[in-house]
């Protein structure tokens, strides 16, 4: 009976015992559960492993499912969804589409002006930050990151943070970081008499001409110069040439002699006839790899993830005959010997929509992509360069030699990314630029328009778009 106000001895023991037990459990949890310190090691590789994923679980009612708008990351995305479901009991519904499709769906969702978003997690890439962050469609994640034990900014590599930041706030988390790189057929290089891969853009043109063999159906070069990918190529080229996309005040800077030199290179490549023709076709990315694997192109310069098929024994027909190298430099720019890899680092990731009713769970899903186990799943299945540094102590990462190449580029070479990347529009009209670039620069490459005209036309389109979006600079 608890009516008595006397504290009996039994009660006393019970209370103290409980407190002591609680303390013991707390201490144990603290010891086992606390995230180990992140210790930077040689080559930027860190040594930690343990993390507390559950950390702080969101309070409040759990949704039945969350909706995620993403590119195709199979089978990795299924793994992450399964982990998420097992951990929290929440289903994940994916809406899978590709880059520009993601943009269109996000625009449609934003334009509807309804009280809640259609999606909880949306795709993040550099071009999305200002387009949607500025409009308030995606949520600043700084507070979530501060509370997270999984997403540790000091345990993440690659200059993706700059393009993810706008007005001092972080709007997206990269799931993987990657860059463009050069891939080449060692056998064809040997046959042409070269003992090392091309190091500059000018070299590439020369090598491609030499290795171009129409009789055998072998093209000198293949790339990803279609739709949205062309812009990424052009930005690298102009940066290597010492130019910029935007000035600090946000006005267009690519209509300059550096811009001309950059565009001229693409034109020279195309008119030399050494570029695999489907390089310009819509959605040429994947075709690119098949073509190289089938031995139809000697050099390839495109996204690093595209190269994993070369390693895949099921798809690659000539294993062991590939070499990888960094982004080329511009021969006119001797200071940067192997020029920048990422004028703005790439990576695809996730953002949380501002009008999602399940924001905290959405962030938990982003965390799920970023765990150690999930990262290893990516490495073993997809071969996308991981963002986490600590996984590089795991021997499985040696499976993909391109990782070291990527890390080297991302860590050690100049990049135009932080704190204010000058390759992105200050008012977020990047998708206008993407399209305008491809449309007009393609024409310039084929001689339907002069290089100067193309640059001026795109400058006009971009300036108009920026003004309409409220840029006054």
């Amino acid at each position: 009976m608890t009516d008595s106000k006397e504290v009996t001895r039994r009660d006393y023991i019970k209370t103290v015992g409980a407190a002591a037990a609680g303390l013991a459990v707390g201490a144990a949890a603290g010891y086992f559960g606390k995230p180990t310190e992140v210790v930077p090691g040689p080559g930027g590789v860190t040594t930690t492993v343990r993390e507390t994923v559950t950390g702080s679980v969101p309070t409040g009612p759990k949704p039945e499912f969350i909706t995620v708008l993403t590119e195709d990351f199979e089978p990795w995305s299924s793994y992450v969804a399964n982990q998420f479901k097992q951990r929290y009991g929440i289903d994940v519904k994916f809406v899978v589409t590709e880059f520009t499709g993601c943009h269109e769906k996000m625009v449609a969702d934003m334009a509807s002006g309804s009280a809640t978003s259609l999606y909880d997690v949306v795709c993040w890439a550099d071009a999305f930050t200002r387009t949607f962050g500025r409009a308030g469609y995606i949520e600043p994640l700084d507070d979530y990151i501060a509370k997270s034990d999984v997403i540790r900014l000091d345990n993440m590599q690659g200059p993706w943070l700059g393009p993810a930041t706008y007005n001092g706030k972080i709007y997206g988390i990269a799931f993987h970081c990657l860059d463009m790189q050069l891939t080449y057929r060692t056998d064809l290089l040997e046959k042409a008499g070269y003992d090392k891969p091309p190091r500059t853009y000018q070299d590439i043109l020369e090598y491609a001409k030499k290795m171009h063999n129409p009789a055998a159906g072998v093209y000198g070069f293949t790339g990803d110069w279609d739709d949205d990918n062309f812009w990424y190529n052009f930005r690298r080229r102009i940066f290597a040439a010492g130019g910029r996309m935007f000035n600090k005040d946000g006005s267009v800077a690519f209509n300059s002699d550096r811009g001309e030199a950059a565009l001229q290179w693409f034109k020279d490549m195309w008119s030399a006839g050494v570029v695999y023709p489907d390089t310009l076709s819509t959605y040429s990315g994947g075709v690119n790899n098949k073509v190289s694997a089938a031995g139809k192109a000697a050099l390839s310069f495109c996204w690093s993830w595209a190269n994993m098929t070369f390693e895949d024994p099921k798809l690659s027909v000539i294993q062991g005959k590939y070499g990888f190298d960094l982004n080329p430099a511009d021969a006119d720019d001797p200071e940067k010997k192997y020029s920048c890899s990422s004028p703005v680092s790439e990576g695809l990731g996730g953002s949380v929509t501002a009008k999602s009713p399940n924001k905290e769970w959405a962030f938990k899903f982003i965390e799920e992509y970023s765990t150690y186990g999930s990262t290893m799943n990516n490495i073993n299945n997809l071969g996308l360069t991981p963002v986490r540094r600590d996984v590089f102590t795991n021997p499985d990462t040696k499976k993909w030699p391109i990782f070291d190449l990527n890390r080297n580029q991302l860590d050690n070479y100049p990049s135009d990314s932080y704190p204010d990347p000058h390759s992105l529009s200050p008012v977020g009209v990047d998708f206008v630029i993407i399209r305008a670039c491809s449309e007009n620069f393609h024409k310039a490459m084929q001689g339907a328009m002069s290089v100067k005209d193309a640059l001026s036309t795109v400058e006009g389109i971009v300036t108009d778009a920026q003004k309409k979006a409220g840029w006054t600079g």
């Binding site: 909706t67 990351f73 995305s77 519904k93 499709g101 595209a306 098929t309 099921k314």
Partner: protein, 298 residues
């Protein structure tokens, strides 16, 4: 005499050969592209690329794409995961079938019901309604897409079946109505008048006498509506998402940047084209008669 007869015979034979040549060209024109796409689905990708660029005949045929698309639980050499692949196709075919059947049914009901009064009953605004039906068909879809999206979003119907079926019905009903007006008008009016004099209600006349007479028109409209809604694309990309997955969206967005899985994509495309083609081929006679009947009458 004999030489002239034999030369005419030769001319006729040559003419016949030439004629059959044209027939073969026409058949090739129709079937060769489809056959080629089918070829890409039964070869491994590098084999297909070799065949396509060098005419190297491959050594093995591979049905793995179909197996993994239609029977995802069977392991094959071409695994592409769950969400980007197999289960999605089955769900997509199911969804599209539901959409097509529902849209067809709704369009038929609304369209033919609306057509009967326009054909038979003389009321004041009859001509304006008819003109309205014709003019509405000329509206470009893109012009109304954003307003429709906003309406559906306000009603909370985005990514639901009604949210996609209703706009489609509104889009297709005018054509069906316009076509059915012709059919109703081509049935003898005496039958209806006789039935009314005999004491039948208007509803009865419609249900028991007129509708059976225009059955071919109904079949034609149904086939047309099914085909149109199966392949509809523009409204689909905006009005649907993860819960409702029309197959046209799947086909269009199946190309990724990471892997252009041609064999995989084309296998999906082949599966996507089977229902409408089979339907059109089976019910072709009705379809053609239905569509052309109105036109011929002028």
């Amino acid at each position: 005499m004999p030489s002239r007869r034999s030369s005419t015979k030769m001319k006729r034979n040559l003419g016949r050969v030439f004629f059959y040549l044209i027939v073969v060209v026409i058949l090739l024109y129709i079937l060769a592209p489809v056959a080629w796409m089918f070829t890409s689905t039964v070869l491994y990708e590098t084999d297909f690329v070799r065949l396509s660029s060098n005419l190297d005949i491959p050594k093995e045929i591979n049905f793995d794409y179909y197996i993994t698309l239609l029977f995802p639980w069977i392991p094959t050499k071409v695994e592409y995961g769950i969400f980007g692949g197999s289960w999605f196709l089955i769900k997509s075919v199911t969804d599209t079938t539901i959409i097509a059947l529902a849209t067809t049914a709704l369009t038929l009901v609304l369209g033919s019901l609306a057509a009967y009064p326009l054909a038979r009953i003389r009321f004041g605004r009859r001509q304006s309604v008819l003109t309205f039906m014709v003019v509405v068909q000329m509206i470009p879809g893109l012009a109304i897409l954003i307003p429709i999206f906003i309406i559906m979003r306000t009603l909370g119907l985005i990514d639901t079946f009604p949210g996609y079926i209703l706009p489609l019905t509104a889009y297709f009903a005018p054509f069906v109505a316009w076509m059915m007006v012709g059919f109703f008008q081509s049935t003898p009016v005496e039958l209806e008048d006789q039935a009314i004099v005999d004491g039948c209600s208007r509803w009865g006349v419609l249900a028991r006498i007129v509708l059976p007479l225009v059955a071919p028109g109904l079949v034609a409209s149904a086939v047309w509506a099914f085909l149109s809604s199966w392949g509809e694309f523009m409204f689909a990309i905006v009005l649907t998402g993860s819960q409702v997955t029309p197959i046209s969206v799947l086909i269009a967005l199946a190309v990724g940047e990471v892997q252009a899985r041609w064999g995989w994509m084309c296998a999906q495309a082949i599966i996507a084209l089977l229902p409408p083609v089979v339907l059109a081929v089976l019910l072709q006679r009705y379809l053609v008669k239905g569509l052309t009947a109105g036109a011929i009458k002028g």
